[in-house]
């Protein structure tokens, strides 16, 4: 079913569609709140992932830390942070990786220092296509 926010570009929110698609990957990410699960995951990432009913595509995206793909496969960004924290990385690494075009840590910091990504031109897919 279509939603009135579907034309907002580059935006992935947790609704009933992504909820169902991303249920197991999000529950995996959620488990990293627990130290005992983080320990399991450190020992053997693949083996730990195999205890969740995730698709292979989702597992690979986790293993390869492809964050944008994770969102496309149903993960929510607040859940995805758990993986960034697990890696002891600053979130800007994830932000830069997801940005289009991609940005390094410094480039992302620079964009934010200059006031962030401007809203003008970023409100709708139509604006993007005409941009």
């Amino acid at each position: 079913m279509e939603r009135d926010y579907d034309d907002i570009p580059g935006t992935y929110l947790l609704d009933s569609r992504s909820y169902r698609k991303g249920y197991h990957v999000n529950m995996f990410l959620m488990s990293l709140n627990k130290e005992v699960c983080r320990d399991e995951f450190s020992k053997d990432e693949r083996a730990y992932l195999d205890t969740f009913q995730m698709t292979d595509e989702q597992k690979l995206a986790v293993l390869e830390r492809r964050y944008l793909d994770l969102l496309k496969l149903g993960a929510n960004v607040y859940y995805a942070f758990k993986l960034v924290s697990f890696d002891r990385q600053p979130p800007q690494v994830m932000y830069g990786q997801m940005a289009d075009p991609r940005l390094t840590f410094d480039e992302f910091q620079q964009m934010m220092h200059e006031g962030g990504r401007p809203i003008h031109g970023n409100r709708s897919v139509e604006e993007w296509n005409n941009g």
């Binding site: 999000n26 529950m27 924290s85 800007q92 932000y95 940005a99 962030g116």
Partner: protein, 285 residues
Amino acid sequence: MANLIAGMGTSHVPGLGVAIDNGKTQEAYWKNLFLGLEPLREWHRANVPDVNIIVYNDHATEFSLDSYSTFTVGVGESFKPADEGWGRRQVPAMQGHPELAWHLIESAMIDEFDLAVNASMDLDHGFTVPLSVAYGQPSEWPTAVVPICINVIQHPLPTALRCYKFGKAIGKAVASYPDDITVGIWGTGGLSHQLGGERVGVVNPEFDQQFLDNLTRDPLANTRLSHTDFIREAGCEGVEMIMWNVMRGALGDNVTEVFRLYHVPVSATAYGAIILENKKRRNEQ
């Protein structure tokens, strides 16, 4: 009768907590922001209520897809800072105020708010960062708290209007509380931010400042915004601003804005803070 003295709105970006915890507030990245926050901290030093009702959201910490409620009120005797993935934040435990929490629940349920009651939830940065912003690094927090967790992550969310009405119900409950205590209410989260996707990093100062202006002058204008308005204009996670409507709804119709700060960037977000005193209180003094 309890007296609701004022409301505060503040973003709750985790980076703020990291900066405070690690003594970085005087570093170049943070210096101006914390300088700007000095008057807010001054106000809090002079205005310590008995209880703060703190409206926040959980970030995949205590609540998950398995079980998510729209409005959750914490009735615990005390609350621990949560392990969000890197161990518990080293800040004092938060003392609850079960009497006020239950009174609020009993009053708002009669007013047809369908609440969830929770005694054991750990509180994540959405809750603990605003405490640090207001009170710094004390050995224990100066007030008891009633945590109110709002679902602003898993759609469908409560509407901006519903949040405002919930605030009204909270204000009514505080006014009918039998004990003679002082109460503050905080709305947290926001302002502009989008943390995921190709559009990550969106900031819309015009929208944010209009939202802040409306809080003081025309709070109902902020209740007419749809979730899609927030998401489109202020980023996917900018919708957290609906929690400020709860804070605003709890206050009286007339408020005095005694503090405002707007600063870009904090991490990937626009930081905003506001303090609104209930006019009634000023007149009484």
